[in-house]
C-alpha cells in the first residue's frame, strides 16, 4: 500500500511450514492407526513416525510462539485474540465431553431401562436393568467403582490444584517469582499425583474384572475417565512447560496469557472431573 505507512498494530507471522509438517504427521498417525487396528504390520510404525513428527512440529511451533511473545511482538490486541480463541477452544472441549456424558445419561435413562421392559423379556428374560450393568449379554462379572476411595482423594487433589494455581497466579501478578514458581510447581505435582492414582485405580479395576469390554458401564467409565485423564496429562505437560518458562524468567505481571490460558484449561479439566465424580463414580 502506498500512501500509508504500515503500522502493524497486529502481528502477522511470516509464511510457515509448521502446519504442513503437522498435517503430514497427523496423516501418518491416523492412517497408521487405521492400519494398526486392522492388523497391518506397518501400522504401528506409521503411527509412531506420525507421533514423532507431530511432537517435533509442536515443539517448533510453540517454541516460535514463545519467542515471538518474549520478543514483544504480541500487542494487547494479539493478547485479546488469544483470550477469545482459548475460550472458544475450551468450549469445543466442553462439547466433546458433552457427547460422552450424553451417551452415559442416555444409557442410564433410556437404553438400559428399556432392555429390562416386557418387550425384551423374550430375548433376555433374566436381565435386571440396574446400574451399573454390563448389559444383558456381556456375561463378565465385575465390581463397579466406588466413589469414596481414590476417586474422592483425586477430587481433593484436583480441587487443591485449582487453589494452588490461583496462588501462583497471584504470585505472578505481585511479581513475586519465588511464590509463583513454588505454587506452580506444587500444581504440577498435584497433577502428576492425580495421574498416578488414576493409573493405580485402573490397574485395580482391571484386576477386579472391570474392562473396556464390560458392557455399557465399562465403555462409559473408561472412555469418560480415559479422555479426562488424557486431558489432565496434556494439562500437566502444559503446566510443566510454563513452569520452566517461569524459571527462565518469562512472563510479566501484565503480559502472561500463556499462564492464564493454561490455568483456564486446568480449571476446565477440574470441572469435568467434578461431573465425572458425581455421575460416573458417585450416583
Amino acid at each position: 500500500m502506498s500512501n500509508v505507512t504500515p503500522t502493524h498494530n497486529y502481528y502477522l507471522p511470516e509464511p510457515a511450514a509448521y502446519p504442513i509438517i503437522g498435517s503430514v504427521g497427523l496423516l501418518l498417525l491416523l492412517g497408521g492407526f487405521a492400519m494398526w487396528f486392522n492388523d497391518a504390520a506397518v501400522g504401528p510404525w506409521s503411527s509412531a513416525a506420525g507421533l514423532v513428527i507431530l511432537t517435533y512440529m509442536m515443539v517448533l511451533w510453540f517454541g516460535k510462539v514463545i519467542s515471538e511473545s518474549e520478543g514483544g511482538l504480541y500487542t494487547k490486541r494479539v493478547d485479546i485474540s488469544y483470550r477469545w480463541s482459548m475460550s472458544w477452544f475450551i468450549f469445543s472441549e466442553v462439547m466433546f465431553f458433552a457427547g460422552f456424558f450424553g451417551a452415559l445419561f442416555y444409557a442410564r435413562l433410556y437404553s438400559v431401562p428399556e432392555l429390562g421392559t416386557l418387550d425384551q423379556k423374550l430375548l433376555w428374560p433374566d436381565f435386571r436393568p440396574d446400574w451399573p450393568t454390563a448389559g444383558p449379554h456381556v456375561g463378565e462379572p465385575f465390581s463397579p467403582m466406588g466413589a469414596w476411595g481414590i476417586p474422592a482423594l483425586n477430587t481433593l487433589l484436583l480441587l487443591t490444584s485449582g487453589v494452588t494455581i490461583t496462588i501462583a497466579h497471584f504470585g505472578l501478578l505481585q511479581n513475586n517469582r519465588s511464590k509463583l514458581i513454588l505454587w506452580l510447581g506444587l500444581t504440577v505435582l498435584l497433577g502428576i499425583t492425580f495421574l498416578g492414582f488414576q493409573a493405580y485405580e485402573y490397574s485395580h479395576a482391571y484386576a477386579q474384572g472391570l474392562k473396556l469390554t464390560t458392557g455399557i458401564y465399562g465403555s462409559t467409565f473408561y472412555m469418560l475417565t480415559g479422555f479426562h485423564g488424557f486431558h489432565v496429562t496434556v494439562g500437566t505437560i502444559m503446566l510443566i512447560v510454563i513452569w520452566f518458562r517461569c524459571v527462565k524468567g518469562h512472563f510479566t505481571p501484565d503480559h502472561h496469557f500463556a499462564f492464564e490460558g493454561v490455568a483456564w484449561y486446568w480449571h476446565f479439566v477440574d470441572v469435568v472431573w467434578l461431573f465425572l465424580f458425581i455421575f460416573v463414580y458417585w450416583l
Binding site: M1, S2, Y10, I20, R77, S85, M95, Y106, G215, S219
Partner: protein, 536 residues
C-alpha cells in the same frame, strides 16, 4: 476515510516479493504450502472445494447411471452404497463447507477492515488438514472391503460391521472436524477482535454476521460428531458397547448423537449461503438490505433452535409420542425465522432498481428453490407424514433443494460476485448466464421428479427399484448428467476469465457498498488494511 485506491499490489497468482516489509516469501508450490495470507488460503479452499465437487460429482453420476434402469447394470450393490456414502460425505465436508470457508477467508478481513485473519498460521493449518482428510477418505476405496457403504450419516450397527474403509473414514472425519474447529475459532476471533474502528457489530455486513453464527455452530457441534465416530471406532476395535444392545448400549444412541451434530450441520451449510445472498440481492437491487437487524436476530434464533430439533430425523425409531410432538413443533418453529429471511430478501428487491447479472440470477434461483426446499422440509417435519416419507426420495429431493439450489447456487453467486474483486478480471457474462440457466433447468429436471418418486414410495440408497418408477428415474438421470456437464462450463468460465478476462472496473456492481468495494482497489492487493479504515 482514507480511500486507498492504487494498483500497486497484486491479486493472487503472480509473484509478490516486491512487498519489502514482509521479508522472504517462498515461491512456487511452497508459497501455497506455507502461506499465511488469508487471500491465498481462501483461494486454496475454493479450488479444493471445486476439486472435491468434481470428485463427489463423478460419484453422483455413478449413482444416477445405475439408477437409469431398474435391475443391476453397472456397479455392485456394495459399491453403489459406498458411492452414496462418499458422495454425501465429500459434497458436505469437502465441497460445500470448504467453499464457504474460502469465502470467509477472502471476505471477512476485507469486509471488516482487518489486516488478515487473527491466526494466519493456524488458518493455513485449517486448510492443510483437508488434503490428508481427502486422502484418507479416498483411500478407503483401496483397502480390502472397499469404501464403507453406510451412508453419510454413518449409522451403527452398519458401521460397526464394515471393513477397514470405515476406519479410514472415521479418521478422515476427525481431521475434518479439527480443521473446522480451528477455522471457526479463527473466524470468531477475527470478527470479535479485528474489526476496524467504528465497525460495530450491528454495522457488520450480513455475510460476516452469518459466519460468526456459523462458526459458533461449528465449534459447538463438530466435537460432538468427533465423539460419535470415536465411539464407533471403539465399538469396532476395543469392545465397547455404546451402540450394542447386548452390552446395554443402543444403536439409536448413535442417531441421537449424530443428529445433534447433523441438524446444526445443515445450518452450517445454509447460513453462510444466507450471508452471500444477503450481500448479492441488495447490490443488484441498489437498495440496502431490508430489515438488517431482523436478519441478525432471525439467523441467531435459527442457530439456537437448530440444536433443539435433531430428532426430526428419527421419527420412526420408536420415540414416545410426546417426543414426536415436541420435535415436530420445534422443527416447524424454525420455519418462522427462515420465513423472516425470505421476506426480507423479497422486500429488499421491492421497488429496487434491479438488474440481472449472473450473481443476481443465482441469488434469485436460490430464493425460489431454497424456499421450495424449506417447504418440503416443513412437510417432512409433520411426524405423521414423515413416517411415510422417511428414507424415501422425497427426503433426497428436499435436501438437494436446500443444499444444491440453496447452498451451491449461493456459492456460485458469491464466486461471480466477488471474482472481479479477487482477480481484477471480469468473467464472460453471457457464459455466466448460460451456466445459470443450464444449472437451474437441469437441477429441476433432476430433483423435482424425485418428490414424486418419494411420494410414491421409492426408497433411497437402494440400487434397484420397481418398474413403476422407471420414467421418473430416467428423467432424473438425464437431468443429473446435464447438471454435471453444466458445471464443466463453470470451470471453463473461471479459467477463461483468469487467463483472458477483461480488466474489471473498480466497481463492477454499482450497488455494492461494503468495505472491499469502497475502500480497496480492484483487484484487492496482496496485503490489505494494514492500517484499518475508519468506519462511520
Amino acid at each position: 476515510m482514507s480511500a486507498v485506491i492504487d494498483n500497486h499490489g497484486h491479486a493472487h497468482g503472480g509473484a509478490h516479493d516486491d512487498h519489502g516489509d514482509h521479508g522472504h516469501h517462498p515461491s512456487g508450490l511452497m508459497r501455497w504450502v506455507t502461506t499465511t495470507n488469508h487471500k491465498d488460503i481462501g483461494t486454496m479452499y475454493l479450488w479444493f472445494s471445486f476439486a472435491m465437487f468434481l470428485v463427489g460429482g463423478v460419484m453422483a453420476m455413478v449413482i444416477r447411471a445405475e439408477l437409469f434402469q431398474p435391475g443391476m447394470q453397472i456397479v455392485s450393490p456394495e459399491f453403489f452404497n459406498s458411492m452414496t456414502t462418499y458422495h454425501g460425505l465429500i459434497m458436505v465436508f469437502g465441497a460445500i463447507m470448504p467453499a464457504f470457508v474460502g469465502f470467509a477467508n477472502w471476505q471477512i478481513p476485507l469486509m471488516i477492515g482487518a489486516p488478515d485473519m487473527a491466526f494466519p498460521r493456524m488458518n493455513n493449518w485449517s486448510f492443510w488438514l483437508l488434503p490428508p482428510a481427502a486422502i484418507l477418505l479416498v483411500s478407503s476405496f483401496l483397502v480390502p472391503g472397499g469404501g464403507a457403504g453406510v451412508g453419510w450419516t454413518m449409522y451403527a450397527p452398519l458401521t460397526t460391521q464394515m471393513g477397514p474403509g470405515m476406519d479410514l473414514t472415521i479418521f478422515a472425519v476427525h481431521l475434518l472436524g479439527m480443521s473446522s474447529i480451528m477455522g471457526s475459532i479463527n473466524i470468531i476471533t477475527t470478527i470479535l477482535n479485528l474489526r476496524a474502528p467504528g465497525m460495530t457489530l450491528m454495522k457488520m455486513p450480513l455475510f460476516v454476521w452469518t459466519w460468526l453464527i456459523t462458526a459458533y455452530l461449528l465449534v459447538a457441534s463438530m466435537p460432538v460428531l468427533a465423539g460419535a465416530v470415536t465411539m464407533t471406532l471403539t465399538d469396532r476395535h476395543f469392545g465397547t458397547s455404546f451402540f450394542n444392545a447386548a452390552g446395554g448400549g443402543d444403536p439409536v444412541l448413535y442417531q441421537h448423537i449424530f443428529w445433534f451434530f447433523g441438524h446444526p450441520e445443515v445450518y452450517i451449510i445454509a447460513i453462510p449461503a444466507f450471508g452471500v445472498i444477503s450481500q448479492v440481492i441488495p447490490a443488484f437491487s441498489r437498495k440496502p438490505l431490508f430489515g438488517y437487524a431482523s436478519m441478525v436476530y432471525a439467523t441467531s434464533s435459527i442457530a439456537i433452535l437448530s440444536f433443539m430439533v435433531w430428532a426430526h430425523h428419527m421419527y420412526v425409531v420408536g420415540m414416545p409420542v410426546a417426543g414426536q410432538l415436541y420435535f415436530m413443533y420445534a422443527t416447524m418453529l424454525i420455519a418462522v425465522p427462515t420465513g423472516v429471511k425470505v421476506f426480507n430478501w423479497v422486500a429488499t428487491m421491492w421497488k429496487g432498481s434491479l438488474s440481472f447479472e449472473t450473481p443476481m440470477l443465482f441469488a434469485l434461483g436460490f430464493l425460489f428453490l431454497f424456499t421450495l426446499g424449506g417447504f418440503t422440509g416443513l412437510v417432512l417435519s409433520l411426524t405423521s407424514v414423515d413416517v411415510q416419507l422417511q428414507d424415501t426420495y422425497y427426503v433426497v429431493a428436499h435436501f438437494h433443494y436446500v443444499m444444491v439450489a440453496g447452498a451451491l447456487f449461493s456459492a456460485f453467486a458469491g464466486v461471480y460476485f466477488w471474482f472481479p474483486k479477487w482477480t481484477g478480471k471480469m468473467y464472460d457474462e453471457t457464459l455466466g448466464k448460460i451456466h445459470f440457466w443450464l444449472s437451474l433447468i437441469f437441477f429441476n429436471i433432476t430433483f423435482f421428479v424425485q418428490h414424486f418418486l418419494g411420494l410414491a414410495g421409492m426408497p433411497r440408497r437402494i440400487p434397484d427399484y420397481n418398474l413403476q418408477f422407471v420414467e421418473f428415474n430416467q428423467i432424473s438421470s438425464i437431468g443429473a448428467f446435464g447438471f454435471g456437464l453444466s458445471q464443466l462450463l463453470f470451470l471453463y468460465i473461471i479459467i477463461k476469465a483468469i487467463k483472458s478476462g477483461e480488466k474489471a472496473p473498480q466497481l463492477p456492481w454499482d450497488g455494492a457498498d461494503t468495505l472491499e468495494w469502497t475502500h480497496l482497489p480492484t483487484p484487492a492487493p496482496y496485503h490489505t488494511f494494514e492500517n484499518p479504515p475508519f468506519v462511520k
